[in-house]
Symmetry: C2
Subunit: 215 residues, 2 copies
């Protein structure tokens, strides 16, 4: 679909993204766009981040899903502001959706906005949603070849969380190969090798998030 | 992107899909469009299918990937015809790509064409590629809530393979909930609970594939 109309849509998205970015900046909000394949553990990482940083920071969440409010319900139990965006058939969040979502939030006073994108390792990479940083959540059972096979999102990521490290003994995953593919493609992005189910290495991740908010 | 131009693209795709379907039918080829999220095990299922049916059926493969020919290289070792389609930025195969791919194949004599789509639980569902059957490969570590969260592809599937059943003891996956969500949404689709790494229940899957070719 490389046609002029699509280019105009992308331009319109970029304009809205700058608007969202301006609104967030004016309110002192740092926004993380959390992307990854379905089941990589995006919601679990959001939960863990809230439970570790929720006392020192005011956190809000936008949950992007094709359908259901399952994730928003999971997160609202943690006592944070959550807005669910159901995209219908759309395979990604765009800046217009985020603009509508933040309009429903009590933004002043929020330090950190966690935006969980639709589960998809391809399309969300192309849509600026006005975020401060792009986070990619990958997971061990997906296999070590995903950096090479889905390069765009890994290239654009400001940080990568490799989740489900606890499953390493049970699957065929070459960690050295994953690490070297990532550092070849995107040497700047820190890699956090975590397990949201056991809690392993989440302190490092949380420290990085804290450093982004403190900037 | 719900605009007239996109509708015209979809119509153009449907016309090409019918053309592909006609070519395949004329050559007596049954084509399975194998979809699922990155790392669900689509390539492994293709490998297992070839190794179990490759002696009785003539099998050919189209490998759809954003980038790399890693999967095609894996499969060409099994002695089948493989055509790699690199989609660049596109998040799905379309009928035009499949038309180009089969033009490069020696189609007469092929019984079964396995088309591995781009890893994506959203977009490929919307593109008819001229296949005989749509197959959805899900996997246990993705979580049991994926049927509800990505309903379109689960609804359209003619069969569902739930892979990585060997990881069930190591993850939080409610099998009864997955089964009942699938049978609510798509009661016709048979569910094959398999492990491509241990080989569990692959005989049932292979039997179903055989029955599709025999029709």
């Amino acid at each position: 679909m490389k046609i002029p109309v699509v280019e105009r849509i992308m331009q319109a998205n970029d304009i809205l993204a700058e608007e969202v970015r301006g609104t967030l900046r004016a309110n002192g909000v740092v926004a993380l766009n959390i992307m990854g394949t379905p089941g990589s553990g995006k919601t679990s990482l959001v939960e863990q981040t809230i439970s570790r940083l929720g006392r020192e920071l005011s956190i809000a969440v936008i949950e992007g899903d094709i359908a259901t409010s399952l994730d928003a319900e999971r997160l609202s139990k943690l006592g944070v502001q959550v807005v669910q965006v159901n995209t219908g058939r759309e395979c990604h969040l765009d800046a217009g959706m985020v603009k509508m979502a933040i309009a429903q939030m009590d933004l002043p006073g929020v330090d950190l906005l966690l935006v969980e994108n639709v589960g998809n390792l391809v399309c969300p990479a192309e849509f600026d949603i006005g975020e401060s940083r792009k986070i990619l959540v990958a997971s061990v059972p997906e296999g070590h070849d995903k950096v090479q096979k889905y390069p765009l999102m890994f290239r654009l990521a400001d940080a990568v969380a490799l989740n489900k490290m606890d499953l390493l003994p049970h699957v065929d995953f070459d960690l050295a190969s994953f690490r070297s593919a990532l550092s070849d493609l995107n040497p700047q992005a820190p890699l956090f090798e975590v397990s949201c189910s056991t809690g392993a290495n989440l302190d490092e991740w949380v420290e990085w998030v804290r450093s982004q908010v403190a900037r």
